[in-house]
């Protein structure tokens, strides 16, 4: 089912702000263009008067050579279509846009990302440092006139590959004989690296005098990027007062693989396997999000059988994600291995299914625009039925018996606050963490996509927002996913698996689209801008993990360092998606 593009019908900002806000009239675009100087005022009204309390995405778009644009996507946590508003500024440095961090604190890290990659200065942002690259890096890589060291051509396919494709290493073409690019006359010996000086400077603001006027010693502890419990190459610089966390800055980018830049060079189809590598636990969900975004833009239907297959795969991947979450959480808490090993067993059985239908355990690359790449063979469908009717329900019960009532675990988790509803919404947190705080916001219900509206299931919610609820909601969601799966495998219709002919070049009309799904970790969205060419003009991933860690500092301040690992685990981050 196609959802209408973020509708402007319900809200008319132009009437509320005549002369300041105008409707975006470009074909294929929607939403409003806001005057730069009134942005904060308009955003406050959008939040307070119109009720769009959740700012999901902040993205820069480089309309080379004339203007830079910042696009905001706001939604209501009660559901319904969203509101797109944007600011356009001339493309001459310094490019300045007011920061929305005081209206929507969730914009924090995303604005830093736009500064890092696009060079858009957000005035009023208290901590506008680079986030994915390091301080001192030359240039803003996502600008259209910035070329990477291995730059070959603006768009794939490259001409050097065929018909005269004599193999050459990319290194040999670069003056520095490697993936390197230095300014002219650069002398490496004279360079003084930043060495995280700016990071420690921002942490300094937490060094306050005690009540009795004594300056107490506070220490900075770095956890990561190589740390056994940070779920990858995540790093947190933590300011400690004794054992209590008084300040925290996430340091990310250690796995920044430049999805956005590479994605703008790829053709639309070529991006599909790259999305697998975002949240590498859930490549099926990533495929789905991207397919939905592009299908919206292309305005094509999805074959009905394919839609069911998509739902089945996405839900299977949610189950294995949550299983691994529970296993890893127990690892973080010190219950080494047993639950994780049990979880990985069931995960293997689910991966077997992915391997049989898609060819790969993790990097499925299974969806195509309009459908899926191949049908599910009957023996695999039988296997899925075996799992969702017999094995997985029993195993979920077993998991609960193993853990849910364990007194040690309960006393460790109950009452340790993660997030309350209001803070979670303000910091744009989505996914299970938000629902565990009592906000029943699940895109499968709030803004239904694919065929989710045909299934009978409940949005799992837990009221307290403590660690135990965050644990329990994952189990709840496994059960709900099983419910969906049981209906889906029963109802799945016969028919074609793609509404389009298999083709390696798709025509995508000009315009923008924002496709979002409820991935196991929260809202995963793809913002795609096309100018009618074979590759996207802008390809942006709005990952759940990245936006969710905006709230990490808020979550951790005041807690003990021993809880940090578990609190981080609660957010269920995955670095491939976080750093992209």
């Amino acid at each position: 089912m196609m959802t209408a593009p973020a509708s402007t019908l319900t809200v008319d900002l132009t009437q509320r702000f005549p002369g300041i806000v105008s409707a975006d009239a470009r074909p294929g675009y929607s939403g409003f263009i806001v005057e730069k100087d009134s942005l904060i005022e308009v955003a406050t009204a959008i939040r307070d008067e119109f009720g769009f309390d959740l700012l999901t995405a902040v993205t820069g778009v480089d309309y080379f050579p004339d203007k830079m644009e910042v696009v905001y996507h706001a939604y209501k946590t009660t559901g319904g279509p969203g509101l797109v508003f944007r600011v356009q500024v001339p493309r001459v440095d310094p490019i300045e846009v007011p920061s929305l961090i005081n209206v929507y604190p969730g914009a924090d890290l995303q604005e830093r990302e736009a500064w890092d990659l696009m060079g858009i200065k957000f005035t009023g942002h208290p901590d506008l440092r680079r986030i994915l690259m390091w301080e001192g890096f030359e240039g803003h890589p996502l600008r259209k006139d910035w070329k990477e060291p291995f730059y070959e051509e603006d768009a794939k396919p490259f001409k050097s590959r065929w018909p005269d494709g004599r193999f050459t290493m990319a290194e040999d073409k670069n003056p520095f004989k490697d993936n390197l690019k230095f300014p002219q006359d650069f002398d490496p010996e004279k360079w003084t690296p930043d060495n995280d000086e700016s990071l420690y400077q921002t942490l300094k603001r937490y060094t306050v005098k005690d009540e009795d006027g004594l300056e107490t010693d506070r220490i900075v502890v770095n956890m990561g990027p190589q740390h056994p419990s940070t779920h990858g190459v995540f790093r947190a610089a933590i300011m400690l007062d004794g054992e209590t966390i008084v300040g925290l800055k996430p340091v990310v980018g250690y796995l920044h693989r430049n999805h956005d830049k590479i994605g703008e060079r790829n053709t639309f189809l070529q991006n599909m396997p790259y999305t697998d590598r975002l949240d590498y636990f859930n490549s099926m969900s990533n495929n789905l999000g991207y397919a939905i975004a592009v299908e919206k833009l292309m305005n094509i239907p999805v074959a009905e059988r394919a839609d069911y297959i998509r739902v089945i795969m996405a839900e299977l991947s949610r189950i294995q994600n949550h299983l691994v979450f529970v296993g890893m959480l127990l690892n973080d808490l010190g219950a080494m291995y047993t639950p994780a090993l049990y979880a990985f067993e069931e995960r293997e059985l689910i991966l077997d299914i992915f391997e049989a239908v898609a060819g790969s355990r993790m990097m499925c690359n299974y969806l195509r625009f309009g459908g899926v790449v191949r049908d599910v063979p009957p023996y695999v469908l039988q296997k899925i039925k075996d799992l969702v009717f017999d094995r997985l329900p029993a195993k979920t019960d077993e998991f609960e018996r193993l853990l849910s009532e364990n007194e040690v675990l309960v006393s460790r988790l109950k009452g340790v606050k993660v997030l309350d509803a209001e803070t979670a919404v303000r910091y744009s947190v989505t996914g299970p963490v938000l629902r565990a705080a009592g906000v029943p916001y699940d895109l499968r219900r709030a803004d239904p996509y694919s065929v989710y509206d045909r299934f009978d299931f409940d949005v799992a919610v837990r009221p307290n927002g403590d660690m135990y609820d965050n644990y329990a909601i994952r189990i709840d969601e496994i059960r709900q996913s099983l419910r969906i799966l049981q209906q889906a495998v029963k109802q799945i219709p016969d028919g074609p698996i793609n509404s389009q002919k298999p083709q390696y070049q798709v025509r995508v009309p000009a315009g923008e689209s924002y496709g979002r799904i409820e991935s196991p970790k929260g809202e995963l969205a793809f913002y795609v801008v096309s100018n009618g060419k074979p590759n996207p003009w802008r390809y942006h991933v709005r990952p759940a993990s990245f936006v969710n860690i905006t709230a990490l500092e808020k979550m951790c301040i005041g807690t003990k360092i021993a809880d940090f690992v578990a609190l981080l685990g609660m957010l269920d981050i995955v670095m491939g998606e976080l750093d992209r």
Binding site: L132, M133, W134, G136, F137, E138, P141, E148, P149, F150, Y151, F167, A170, P175, F176, K177, D178, N179, L180, K181, F182, P183, Q184, D185, F186, D187, P188, E189, W191, P193, D194, P225, Q226, P228, G232, V233, G253, Y254, L255, H256, R257, N258, K261, I262, P273, Y274, R277, Y280, F281, A340, L341, F344, E345, R347, E348, R361, M362, M363, M575, G576
Partner: protein
């Protein structure tokens, strides 16, 4: 171009690993002990790391090879499994970890990314293969290598260990430890201190080209 030349890594392979040497009984015992207790560093970078964890889990169970003891500290590890994309931001830490590992140590490049840059090679923040900085013993292609492929690669590593000889291995030789690798610096781009002169001259050449 023949395949051998295409695939040559860009560093010198030490003689002691390049081809088999005479193996004595003592060597055999020595190697048997080492090959059966290769402890990997608990260290994951990207997607490949998940397959590494899966290989540690119940279905593939690397304990069968004595490799289940993942050490979180490099001081106790014998094997660095570079499992994932090596980014410029991360590589100083990786080199530091490598330097902290005691000899004998081995490095396995797991997956396309660690071997040669992988699908993200063209990216601006990606190091095109860990062998640019650290000598790699075994390359495992695949994206990601399945756990079985990983185990197959580790068996290859064991075979390599089997061929080493006590008399030749460099870690018992006298003299300073020359294997320490200078840690790269994060400048306007990644600076490998070993290549300072080269970078300087190339940057200067850029300037003259521009003005010409």
């Amino acid at each position: 171009m023949d395949n051998e030349k295409l695939s040559l890594p860009q560093y010198d392979i030490p003689d002691d690993v390049q081809n088999a040497v005479a193996i004595t009984t003592l060597d055999r015992l020595y190697n048997w002990g080492r090959r059966s207790s290769v402890w990997p560093l608990m260290f994951g970078l990207a997607c490949c790391a998940i397959e590494m964890i899966a290989a540690q889990a119940a279905r593939y169970d690397m304990a069968r090879f004595g490799m289940e003891v993942m050490r979180p500290t490099p001081r106790q590890a014998d094997l660095m499994l570079v499992s994932g994309t090596v980014t410029k931001k991360m590589v100083p830490s990786i080199v530091r970890l490598w330097n902290q590992m005691p000899e004998p140590k081995y490095c396995v490049a797991m997956g396309a990314c660690a071997s040669g840059g992988g699908p993200f090679k063209e990216g601006y923040n990606v190091v095109a293969g860990i062998d640019k900085l650290i000598p790699v013993d075994v390359y495992i292609p695949g994206c990601p290598p399945t756990p079985q492929a990983l185990i197959a690669g580790l068996i290859k590593l064991q075979q390599k260990i089997d061929k080493q000889s006590l008399r030749k291995v460099h870690w018992y030789r006298k003299g300073p430890d020359v294997m320490e690798i200078p840690v790269p610096i994060l400048g306007p781009d990644l600076i490998d201190p070993r290549r300072n002169a080269e970078i300087k001259s190339a940057a200067a050449a850029l300037a003259t080209k521009e003005s010409a």
